[in-house]
Subunit: 383 residues, 2 copies
Amino acid sequence: MVGGGQLARMTHEAGIPLGIRFKLLSDTLQDSAAQVVGDVVAGDYRDLATLRAFAQGCDVLTFDHEHVPTEHLRVLEADGVLVRPGAEALVHAQDKGVMRARLDALGVPSPRHRIVRDPADVAAFAAELGARADGGAADGFPLVLKTVRGGYDGKGVWVVDSADDAAVAEPFRAGVPVLAEEKVDYVRELAANVVRSPHGQAVAYPVVESRQVDGVCDTVIAPAPGLDRDLALRAEQLALRIAKELGVVGHLAVELFETRDGGVLVNELAMRPHNSGHWTQDGAITSQFANHVRAVLDLPLGDPRPRAPWTVMCNVLGGDYPDMYGAYLHCMARDPQLKIHMYGKDVKPGRKVGHVNTYGDDLDDVLERARHAAGYLRGTITE
Amino acid sequence: MVGGGQLARMTHEAGIPLGIRFKLLSDTLQDSAAQVVGDVVAGDYRDLATLRAFAQGCDVLTFDHEHVPTEHLRVLEADGVLVRPGAEALVHAQDKGVMRARLDALGVPSPRHRIVRDPADVAAFAAELGARADGGAADGFPLVLKTVRGGYDGKGVWVVDSADDAAVAEPFRAGVPVLAEEKVDYVRELAANVVRSPHGQAVAYPVVESRQVDGVCDTVIAPAPGLDRDLALRAEQLALRIAKELGVVGHLAVELFETRDGGVLVNELAMRPHNSGHWTQDGAITSQFANHVRAVLDLPLGDPRPRAPWTVMCNVLGGDYPDMYGAYLHCMARDPQLKIHMYGKDVKPGRKVGHVNTYGDDLDDVLERARHAAGYLRGTITE
């Protein structure tokens, strides 16, 4: 696996019972996954020679993140390395422009969008959106600008409220392509997680509700409460169809907006285990990490169904205090059913350092327990 | 952790979400746990200097097996190393003579037993058993001889049917102390698993039924089917009491015989995660491995309750074919709910190379699925 973050850490954990020998390419030997994996190479995933040397002796190469240059992946594939997901699929999770164009071609519902090169393009796009708007934002603003490559967790995303805002928008300073999108007035965010194997076998996890705070995933509720059953089925089928059409191997997370007219729009794609699937570790028969491993090795996939009526995941973000140990003890003592997942990272304010899962029959209780633990660990709840 | 077997492998797996940095002393770098742990020292656990060097920088030392010499543990404790369980507790899992004497002093019900030095001692003990027997085995035979130290999985145990048998019994050849025990005519074998922390917090898992084949654990059913509720409670309380009286820190497995008069006798003690607790990985809220880690680090313990009405564990033993890969694929494809746990060991006939867990509402179904998978992986079932 390329990338030493928490996704690799948890993928290794899930591979142990499957008997998998896990090899890691990590930036440093101190990274989250590097602390717990036996066979670690420290190196730069942007360097082709490093990737080629690492791939030697791997049965299959997969990823903790989307940042390995697409051209390097193509070279590795030409070398005969089994890259899963392959470059042709992964590029859709790396490049939002490529993703939008492909989803348009497939007729997949997305927010209205355009690749823009400069503020004048943004103004023209906004005018078109405004002309089509039925009341409200008749000038087309606010709209969203995203760097086509490299964003995550709210990074690389800007909301601009006017043509004046757009005129000084940060992403244009770097001269990189930018994707402009309408700012969707959604009901809530959902995520449809599926896993697909080279065999073409695929499984769908229940559609979840994902709540963001400041652009970072805060809470995931599985399944999404009160979600219309037909809409849930359509979202699952949409994700399965995208996985198939794009040739995804492994885990695919489809981030969705639930719209006020009872539909969904695709927001983002991720082709790796995803924060919206962390609940599966304790809440599903087979976790997203185990199924990702099974898929990339072309093993039969495991049952994705939930084990409890409700599972809630809350991210643990770093707070003002670097030492979480006292809070960690408190949370375990307060709730013996709590499932804590720590990433071995130094605590920095706002940094994802872990998550907690809770499950049970009563959503209010399950939600309260997860929120309390995450808040207590961060230091925003002190009782 | 000292010892690189599957128990260490699965303890590391359980420590990852807790954020634990795991260090391993393993015989070789190819051992089961050494394949998946980052920080591994290859060395001999019987060598005091090796143990002392390994313990440097460990917050706490715990064990995958009982074979570290007690006197070395005492030296480490005198050095200031936190050894958990400590030597004073662990000796009861290392030395069956010490264990029997202590349990007798505590009034814990055990099979009748005596330390014997030679065949004449065995004959005298058998005569006493015979004199007290109410019919049946009036000569006191058959009885069981066990080496006081070093046995496991049926190794170090002999059943002798007569004084003539005893006269040529293998354990006397080595001149080591031998424990003679009556051969209990039990209904079935049970196991009571508990975990205790230095704080004195303790949790009890449901009492399970353990079925042995040729002295090796074959199937564990959780909870033990049809077990009288009062007897289950008494068995749990007995295990908790033993853990407290012996000062156990970590996991304690108490292997029991269920007797025909509705009681239990203590067969063996193990102070580490135990085969009779493997079902907890998929069947309990908190696994025995996670609770062992929590206990030895004096973290609050996790909820031991089951997540499903029935969980069954079957060991996967090596069969005649060294390559299990085809069977592994078949089992995953046949039962997407199957939980496979492989140890990364080379397949040898009769060797424990993994286990499977199944769970659900219908015991017959759960049992059939686990047995089928274990049999198919071994090669004794081919359809």
